[in-house]
Amino acid sequence: MLHLKKGLWVLVSFMLFVGILAGCTSSEVDNSSGKEDKDGKVTLRMIESITSPARTTLLKEMIAKFEEENPNIKVELISPPLQSADEKITQMLMAKEDIDVLEVREQTVKNWATNQFIEDLSAYTSKWEDWNSLTETIKHGATAVDDKPYYIPYGVYEKTLFYRKDWFEEAGIEVPETWDELVDAAIKLTDPSKNRYGYSFRGGAGSSDYIEFMTWSFLGEKIATKDAYFTSDGKVMFDTPEAKQVLDTFVEVYKKASPPDSISWSYPEMVQGFTSGMTAMLIQDPEVIVTAEENMKEGTWDTAPLPKGTPSGVAQQSAGTAGWGIGAFSKHKEEAWKLVSFLSSPEQNLFFAKENSLIPIHLSAGDDPYFKEGYFSAYIEMSAKPEEFLIADRPVHYKGYAEYRALAEKDIQALLLDKLSKEDVLAKWTDFWKKEKENHK
């Protein structure tokens, strides 16, 4: 019994020790939830969605500058884990938490706007001197829902092809310009015994985006301009022979040229597959440039324009945006706008875009050499040929878009496992969008 008592003593004293420490630290934790300090300081709560340690550090740097310029405003940055961040923000908004500044994305803007969770920023943007220097893409993205600016984008997400220059040279293959060429090249570069695969496939979360831009590319000009999930003659885009072709290509590149595990790969895994030297090609956002620069040797990789569809001969994708909006339950909207406009100013945005390798939002940034040379040249090439590289709008104004994405992700995995046939999948999606269109009127 004696040894037991001794052991318990150790435990108790340990607890006491920690308890004392707790007393010291908890007081620190507590005061930040108070909204207005005694000295009239305002605390803003800002929540981000596409989180990563590197980006959070960057944001903190910018916030520090903001606080320096506005000594009576304090910003408290909340960074929930990426996987469930949007869900988390929705939850907070449902509880009417007073979030001041929040990251709004294409998938969330419609939902939050209809539920009156986020502010219409018109009143602020009309008085904002930097509004007019925004690029057309950004203005367009900001006002995608109801023609009202619900958020100020911080950059554009457009996809490009990343490839292993050294492997292509070694095998004597040209960099693919079309999806057919991409599949051929990917198969040639695949050698499972060396743990090498041709393509960083995405079968997990976000896979529907790939079906989306591939279908747009294969259909090309046939896509309706203002209603991109439908063709100009009113059919759902999945109700076409081209859509079937897309699925053929999609399944083939998975089965013949991608790691089997990639059936559940999402952003982190596919990027890592490429940067760790497992895969030869990756189609992703410009953000990858920074990651690749950090992890790969110069000269082993490069970027190229997005592959084109057949028979359309064009590539077509969305100019995705995400940005900063103001919460409807905020008690400090003026201050919140100060922060949003600060983050969106030409100077701050250029800094953010460079560090995060994003396409910046202001016209003036186009002159910056960083976005003209090197790895960004693929983007320059794409924007120089607008008739070959088209831009379509995601159907964010449909209530069911987010729901479709979740549904499609599951169907895509089922398709890859042969649990569902291509025809079934297309019929299912066609049905979904027909219903959406009927309900939308």
Binding site: T90, N111, P192, G204, P260, D261, I263, E409, L417
Partner: protein, 310 residues
Amino acid sequence: MKIQTETVTERGLPLFRMSKHGLFIFLCLLPAIILVSIFTYYPLLKGVIMAFQNYSAYDLMNIRFIGLENFKTIMADIGFKESLVNSFYWVFFSLIPQFFIGFIVALMLRRKFKGRGVYQAFIFFPWAMSGFLIGLIWRWMLNGQGGVINDLLMKLGIIDTAIPFLADPTWAMVSVIVANVWYGITFFAIMILAALQSIPEELFEAAKIDGAGYFQQLFNITVPYILPTLIVTTLLRVIWILNFPDLIYSLTNGGPAGSTHILSTYMLEKIMFGQNYGQAAAVGVIIIFILIFFSIFYLLATKFNKAGDF
């Protein structure tokens, strides 16, 4: 002093008079009851109500009662049926090896030997870890490209080519179950070991004198003596395993194509990615029903009448 009439006998027969001790009983139980009512049963009640509502984050302006609609939608979903079947596999094939290996380990640790303490310290480790971390570790080990498990299996000559553990539906299910077995053996081992050590040594000595062999002792003395522990521990494990999404969440997240979803991860997904709280709540109600019916059936079948003593 009426102490004599107020004693509790060894068999636990109550002789205390309620009225005298009413306040004491009430005060002692109060904190537990208040906490559990407000923070478990109140949200549960709200949740059950949600199961009959159109409660979706995509459609917040339109929350209303829709009767059994959520249940109908779920029942019609292939994903639900799949996760129901998976739940059965998940519980059954996790439980059986956990139980038997745990039992054997406990038997072997019953008698003191040199280094037993250290050994125990090592094999109890899994229980100290979170399901989430265990899922991550196994995901790293099962990685189809350069994962260590494939490498070991190939080195041992068991397989020639790498198995896509997490990409193939069947292998993925095997993987999550193996990880869960790894995690759960310890719990059984601890509980059974504790029960074994409470068996009076005289019982064994008497049996030895009667000439009983090892297995005779095992089945005539050990098992009957610890049977209550076995029954209760097993029931608890069934409940816990079914309501244990952490490991699957971080190992496969239900994939590929929902082939490793169990009811609780299916429910989690309804919330996290479908944002449909109504349907998620409906799944929750179904889980509770299944567990209540299972417990009643199980306790009747094992003729165990002390359900409360979990």
